[in-house]
Structure formats: C-alpha cells, structure tokens
C-alpha cells in the first residue's frame, strides 16, 4: 500500500470527527489522555530513557494496542505528552490501513520496512502532527480564543499606537495564552495559529 497525500481539510475533518465521537461534551483542553486510556483502552507503556537514549518521544505498536512513550515525558511534561498522544491517535485514525497492510513476519522484514522507507515515512509523521494540532486546537475554539486574546492585546498601549495590526504578527503575542487554554506548548500554538491565519 502506497503512502498517500492527505489534504489538510481531510485531516482536520478526521480529527474533528474523532473528537466529537470520543468527547461529545467537546471539552477544552481536549482530554486526550483520558480518551486514549479510559475510552479507547490502549495500553500505555512508559519507557525510561526512550527520548534520552533513542531520540524517540513515542510510538504505536504495530498491533495498534500499545502506546509506548518516554516515561519522563508521560509523567512530568504534560503538554508534550498530550501532543504525543494526539500524534499517535493520528496514526491510528489515518494510517491504520497502511499499518495493517504491511507484511512483517520477521525482525529483518521489520528493519527493511523502517530503514528501507527511510524518509518515505516522514510525510506520515507530518500528517500525524497535523492531526494532533487539529485535534487539540479545533478551529472553532481556536477562532474564539484568538478573538478574545486579540481584543485583550489590542487594548495594550503598545498596539493602540498602531493603526492596523496584522493578525499573523499578533499571533505571536497571543500564542502563550492560547497554549495555556488548549494545553499545548507555545510553539505548537504559534504554528497552529500561523497555519490557520495563513489559510483563511
């Protein structure tokens, strides 16, 4: 099965659909850890040193039953763990057909798949990141929060001197409160805001 391009709108629709199915109350911040563990009932496997020794945040096992995550991240870096969980859910939702189609019956075949594809898997990682971003920061709620923060920031004397403030420039000033509202890092919030504002 070939790795395919998935339009961002399709990824967003998949993320929205997943969120509404598993959290009909539409809670913000999205309770992704609770959804994955208590509703999807995936096994969480915390591993010490996964990041420190192997540069790996997390992965989903091929049988799609276990979410393996660096133990330090899982226990002490909540926002990062939330993004990792949402990222792995992205693989589960948009790449499970691909993962199931792989014929891996030995360690050697596994190595060949991972190393042979090399950067071929990189677009799938990007897609899973996009899914996570849409899932944790749904457009409707993001828009609402951006407008709220925009009004707040616009009242600051610094911005009152400026006639027209560009939304994309403003985004960097509001990324911090937006990040707090959605339980993500400031960097993740800024990327999401820039992409959303750029695509309007």
């Amino acid at each position: 099965m070939a790795i395919k391009f998935i339009p961002p709108a399709e990824i967003e629709a998949a993320a929205d659909s997943f969120r509404r199915e598993w959290d009909p109350a539409e809670t913000i911040p999205v309770p992704i850890l609770e959804v994955v563990e208590l509703k999807l009932k995936l096994n969480v496997v915390p591993v010490l040193g996964l990041m420190r020794d192997h540069n790996v945040d997390s992965f989903l096992t091929r049988d799609l039953h276990d979410l393996v995550i660096d133990q330090e991240i899982y226990m002490y870096q909540e926002n990062r763990a939330r993004f990792s969980f949402a990222h792995e859910v992205g693989h589960l939702v948009i790449h499970s057909d691909y993962l199931k189609s792989l014929k891996i019956d030995s360690i050697e075949a596994w190595k060949q798949e991972v190393l042979g594809k090399g950067s071929g898997h990189a677009p799938m990682e990007t897609q899973a990141n996009m899914f996570a971003s849409f899932l944790l920061m749904p457009t409707t709620f993001l828009k609402e929060e951006f407008e709220k923060q925009k009004k707040f920031v616009s009242d600051h004397p610094l911005f009152k001197q400026t006639k027209a403030i560009d939304d994309r420039a403003l985004a960097q000033y509001v990324a911090k409160p937006v990040a707090k509202r959605f339980g993500v890092s400031e960097e993740a919030a800024n990327i999401r805001l820039q992409n959303w504002l750029g695509g309007r």
Binding site: N55, R62, L99, W110, V114, E125
Partner: protein
C-alpha cells in the same frame, strides 16, 4: 475465549475508577512502568500480601467483597504462570513500531533499531 488475567482485571478496575495510568501512579506513588507491565501480564502479581492489599485499596476494592476475592484468585493464578511471561517471537513482531515520533525527525539507523528492539523486549 481466553480466561481473564490478573493484569486485565487490574486495568479494568483502574479504568472503573476513572484514573489514567499516570493519575493512578501519581496518586498512590506506584511506578508507572511496573504497573503497565503488571497490567499487560508481563509481571506476575506480587507475592507480598501487603503489596497486594495496597493495590486493592488503591483500586477501590473492598476487603471481603466479590471483587476482592476475584482480585486475589486471579493473582494466585498469575503467580503460577510466572515462567511464561516473556514475549514470544511472533508477539514481539506485533509490538514493533513502524512509525516513530522522533526528536526533529532524526533518521533511524540499524544500530538504533537494534537498541529499540532490546528496549521493546524489556518494556
């Protein structure tokens, strides 16, 4: 149909309490790696009655209740299976990851995969 295992029951009770693994371990000061292994049947139930009672209490199992009896019965069976808990090769293959969330999307090498393989065997 496979019979219920101690680990499955442990996880079922934790989920019934509405606690994620992290919340459960933080609240009761358990090691998350060990609890995860216990739930996945890779660790046997503890032999120590005191430890078992700690777990039962944390999971909200009342002494003398049906749940209590089932919890301790399944633990006794789990201890008998002690020698069968390592992942078999075909199970290991099912646990191998294909897509990795890596720092800065760094490329993987065969050496790194060998190390990750060892890690999965122990996880």
């Amino acid at each position: 149909m496979a019979s219920k295992q101690f680990g499955d029951y442990f996880k079922e009770l934790r989920i019934k309490k509405g606690l994620t693994l992290r919340q459960f371990c933080e609240k009761y000061e358990f090691d998350p790696g060990n609890i995860s292994k216990l739930e996945r049947g890779l660790f046997p139930a503890p032999h120590s009655e005191e430890k078992m009672e700690d777990y039962a209490k944390a999971l909200g199992v009342k002494k003398g209740s049906d749940e209590w009896i089932e919890f301790f019965d399944l633990a006794a069976v789990s201890n008998k299976d002690l020698g069968m808990m390592r992942l078999k090769n075909e199970q290991l293959i099912e646990k191998l990851p294909v897509l990795f969330r890596t720092l800065d999307n760094k490329e993987l090498t065969e050496e790194k995969l060998d190390k990750i393989l060892e890690l999965i065997k122990k996880a």
